[in-house]
Amino acid sequence: MIETLEVTRQFGHRAALAGVTLSIPPRTIRLIVGPNGAGKTTLVRILATLTRPTGGTARIDGVDIAEDPEAVRPLIGVVLHESLLYPELTALENLEFCGSLYGVAGEARPREVLRLVGLLPRATDAVGTFSMGMRKRLSFARAILHRPKVLLLDEPLAGLDREGARMVAAFLRRQREEGMTILMTTHTLERDWALGDAVSVLHRGRTVLERTVSPEGLPSFLADVEARTQEG
């Protein structure tokens, strides 16, 4: 579903990504792990067609991102660090606006996704009054509003407490059951590893490791990650 081959992002001599190769099958959750500065956000932005790659190829559902970004956009739902929400508008208005951009008319679908993330009671409240956890949930609702095939999430569990993280994990698993392909980044491997069907490790802009991790295999995996990310 998501295929990249030696994707790079560099200018002059500075490289944010030096060669990322991924193959993510449909209906799976892929964890992209790496310390801050490894290039995780850049990778998400490239796949989301927000940033253009300087080399390599990337495909989502067979569509080449660099050649035809417009065709990719309806297929993806994105959650970034910055919320894409307008604080002065209500939750419902935000979703209706987003819907109008994606060709989803009316209130029905916005209400449905609000219910899914447990925000229906607050539908007519301004997003500016929401807590961070609520905004995160609304961001997820926004991302799935137009029924994309792929979810691209940049550190979706960051800043959430235990309960919030549990809810998001359950939500993501539910989306996967319904056919979604999910790519999410994180820098807390120890906490989040179980969420992914497979884990890709990013170090200094390159994919250095890729593995399906079982509970028994976790210690050796963590050791491998240590080893690979110490090298310069």
Binding site: R73, E82, L84, Y86, E88, L89, F97, C98, L101, G103
Partner: protein, 224 residues
């Protein structure tokens, strides 16, 4: 290009503005401030009888209101991180440009109309029957100015001291192609020398060229 996208964005911008009044308040205060400054520094005996003077004051005001207005439009989206949402949506970059241009133009024209009123009061100036044409010239000039102002504002939305930068960047581009002809046309209407039509003959093609440049370049402008 998706005109539905442009229309949705324009509506959203206007709704946001009505809700928060952020932009409008700033612009109205700015307009008053500029007019007060002019009122203060000019010799009261000069009065406002000179058409060139009145036209100049008006357009100085319109210029700065336009600059701040368009800076705010893209500045706010960028600071809140919501601009990515507009780029992510299908429909292309030009639709974003058009939608925001429409909303910004509506807001700016409204404030500029108030400026006409403020000037009339502050300077005891009676526009007379020609006010409608003056308003139309303001409309044309504002649209022309914003057509390229949007591109520049969006371009430098992430730079340091972007507000000052926008003004510096816009002056060479618009001062002689849009602002001066607008001043000249306005002065002509108010009884001074010059003609209305020859100035429109330059402003309209200039605006068309600016919109064409926006069409070609806005996808690059919105990149990050």
């Amino acid at each position: 290009m998706n005109s539905g996208k442009a229309w949705s964005i324009a509506k959203k911008d206007l709704r946001s503005e009505l809700r928060s009044r952020e932009g409008a308040t700033t612009l109205v205060f700015l307009s008053l401030l500029i007019l007060f400054v002019f009122r203060g520094i000019l010799d009261p005996r000069l009065g406002a009888r000179d058409p060139a003077l009145v036209a100049g004051i008006l357009w100085a005001t319109f210029f700065f209101v336009g600059t701040v207005g368009v800076a705010g439009t893209y500045g706010r989206e960028r600071d809140r991180g919501t601009l990515e949402g507009l780029v992510l949506a299908p429909g292309g970059a030009f639709a974003v440009y058009l939608g925001k241009l429409a909303a910004t133009a509506a807001l700016t024209v409204a404030v500029n109309s108030l400026s006409l009123l403020f000037l009339g009061v502050l300077f005891n100036y009676d526009f007379g029957g020609v006010i409608v044409l003056v308003w139309l010239v303001m409309l044309a000039g504002t649209l022309g100015f914003l057509s390229i102002g949007s591109v520049i504002a969006a371009l430098v939305r992430g730079a340091r001291s972007r507000d000052a930068l926008i003004t510096i960047l816009l002056i060479p581009i618009t001062l002689f192609s849009i602002v001066m002809p607008s001043v000249s046309a306005t002065a002509a209407l108010l009884g001074g020398s010059g003609t209305l039509t020859s100035n429109l003959y330059t402003m309209v093609p200039a605006t068309v060229v600016f919109v064409a440049l926006a069409y070609l370049l806005f996808p690059f402008v919105l990149e990050e």
